[in-house]
């Protein structure tokens, strides 16, 4: 028993020590800066709470994250459905199509979107050629740009859990539903949809939390009109050299994420029946 414990500890030690020294300690040091403002221990948090800019950015971050989650869910659902049904070559092609973007640097993908969405880029030219609009549409440096870029980057994180949930559904359940007299819509609504909800909940949690902490894509595609929390935190450090404010904003973001995670796990537990298989 004791020998085993030492063995486990010895195996864990290298990773634990590395994490502690290069990650946990610097993080604690950084976050503790929030309480070192010359105006007082909690002055930074007071300043954040009183700042209309900060409040707007916070609200914007949550709205963008929620919209991104909704759009990826709507796009990923039919895609995951197809993935779960096709076999052979089509499956290989589709799954690589889903995974391929993950292998390309996020920076490359974001700059690619800048080229596509710019004032005289291919997207605007196509819109004008089709007569949808006479003047180029503002697609970049606003919400539209941020949403397009983030949805593109985060889509696989929604597709994969949904696909997993759909693959786990026994096709005989749909036959059973059919044989019991239920129509297609009813079988979908009462059997298929509820059984995919665990995947949807998992994917949505992923996408929402990743969205809240997203930096590169909103910073490059959002410009000055769609600022997200991480962009603000970086601005505190690089433009204002105000480390205590950056730390306070980070703590606020961390707290929001923690609360959401707790709520999510609580929601998942409430519906445990859907997850057991």
């Amino acid at each position: 028993m004791n020998g085993r414990r030492i063995e486990v500890l010895a195996l864990l030690a290298p990773a634990l020590i590395l994490t502690l020294v290069v990650f946990v300690l610097p993080l604690v040091r950084f976050l503790s800066l929030a309480f070192t403002a010359p105006e007082g221990t909690f002055a930074t948090f007071v300043a954040l709470a009183e700042s209309p800019v900060y409040r707007r950015v916070m609200l914007n971050s949550f709205v963008v994250a929620a919209v991104v989650t909704a759009i990826t869910a709507a796009l990923a659902w039919p895609l995951a459905y197809l993935l779960a049904r096709v076999r052979g070559l089509w499956f290989t092609l589709m799954i690589y199509g889903v995974l391929f973007p993950l292998w390309i640097s996020i920076l490359v993908r974001t700059y690619s979107w800048m080229l596509l969405l710019e004032r005289h880029g291919p997207v605007n030219r196509a819109i004008q050629a089709m007569g949808i609009s006479d003047t180029p549409l503002p697609l970049l440096f606003n919400h539209t740009g941020v949403l397009v870029g983030m949805v593109h980057v985060l889509l696989p994180y929604m597709v994969l859990p949904l696909y997993g949930a759909m693959r786990a559904i026994d096709p005989r359940l749909m036959q059973a539903s059919d044989g019991l007299g239920a129509g297609l819509w009813q079988s979908f609504r009462r059997i298929w949809l509820p059984l995919t909800l665990p995947g949807l909940a998992g994917g949505a949690t992923f996408v929402f939390l990743l969205s809240l902490g997203f930096y590169i894509t909103p910073a490059l595609l959002g410009g000055r009109t769609s600022i997200m929390l991480p962009t603000l935190i970086v601005a505190f450090i690089t433009e204002h050299f105000n480390w205590p404010m950056a730390a306070a904003a980070s703590i606020a973001l961390l707290a929001a994420v923690a609360v959401l995670m707790l709520a999510a796990t609580r929601f998942l537990k409430l519906d445990r029946g859907m997850f057991a298989r």
């Binding site: 026994d170 005989r172 359940l173 036959q175 059973a176 539903s177 059919d178 044989g179 019991l180 007299g181 239920a182 129509g183 009813q186 009462r190 059997i191 509820p194 059984l195 029946g273 859907m274 057991a276 298989r277």
Partner: protein, 360 residues
Amino acid sequence: MIETTGLALGLRGLTKRYGAVTALEPTDLDIGAGEFLTLLGPSGSGKTTLLNLIAGYTDPSGGTIRIGDRDVTRTPARHRNIGMVFQSYALFPHMTVAQNLAYGLEARRVPKPEIARRVEAALALVQLEGYGTRGVQQMSGGQQQRVAVARALVIEPDVLLMDEPLGALDRQLRRQVQVELRRLHLKHGRTTIYVTHDQEEALVLSDRIAVMGKGRIQQLGTAAELYARPANSFIAGFIGESNLPEAKVTEVTGGMASAEVPALGLTVRAPVMPGVAPGAPARLMLRPEHLRILPDAGEGIEARIAEVIYLGELTQFGLETAGGAFLVARGMEGRGLRQGDIVRLGWSPEEVLLVPDTGP
């Protein structure tokens, strides 16, 4: 056998092909109302294809399906009013037992109070009173099996289909559930088609058995008919056990034939099944319980006892003949015999049968 009051299900020329492969040869079958019919056969024999065609999960390549006086050949599964029990049960995992049972009734827009009443009655029928609020995944395998049966029965189906419903249970439980299913059928009296590869299950449960092989019904009859007069060597070996030495038929007259049986080193006269003819490959069906060890020397054929297996009330002997055949005999006699003893074997001519050889 249960009194039948008319035709519940009629198949005419029902066929299923997948490209060049024929899963089900053109098949005719009539099933009486209230009858319990088993489709018995090894995997790949076409029994599951036939079941899926009746259920409406597979479209036929040809032929017709009638339920009562309705032609349902082109009717989707949800309008056939058929109850299906799947091998995996296919219970809805996110619902309680009662919700599973109510599902088919809700699809039929049955009023709520009646649903509650019928769900209760169905649970009582399978002896699961009080389990309605349980999640199906909290139930044991045997209980889930009963829930699946109750869910299929609660919709009052015209035909109840069961696809190897005991396949997922252990041997001990399977015996018990067989007897329960038989009692249950006597209670609900619904026309039932049961698919299995287990001949013991088929014998215990069925009014009639359709033995399937190579995509067709090889023989249809009661258990006793199949056992006493199997249509060919495949069925003789599949229903019960049998010694099946090869036989060369020399002449057939009036339902009897003479045949040389090299393994026994003699010529026998025995009743024949249709299809047995001079020159056509045939086998002699010699059931272990009909093969007797004779008290007197001089009669029968000589054999050496190769093994003795004590089975309690019976003893089973493995016997080697001079012709090189290995025969199995089973009976209450021969208590004192040992391995290596030389004995003589005999049988009553009316208990053996010459059947067409369908190959191994």
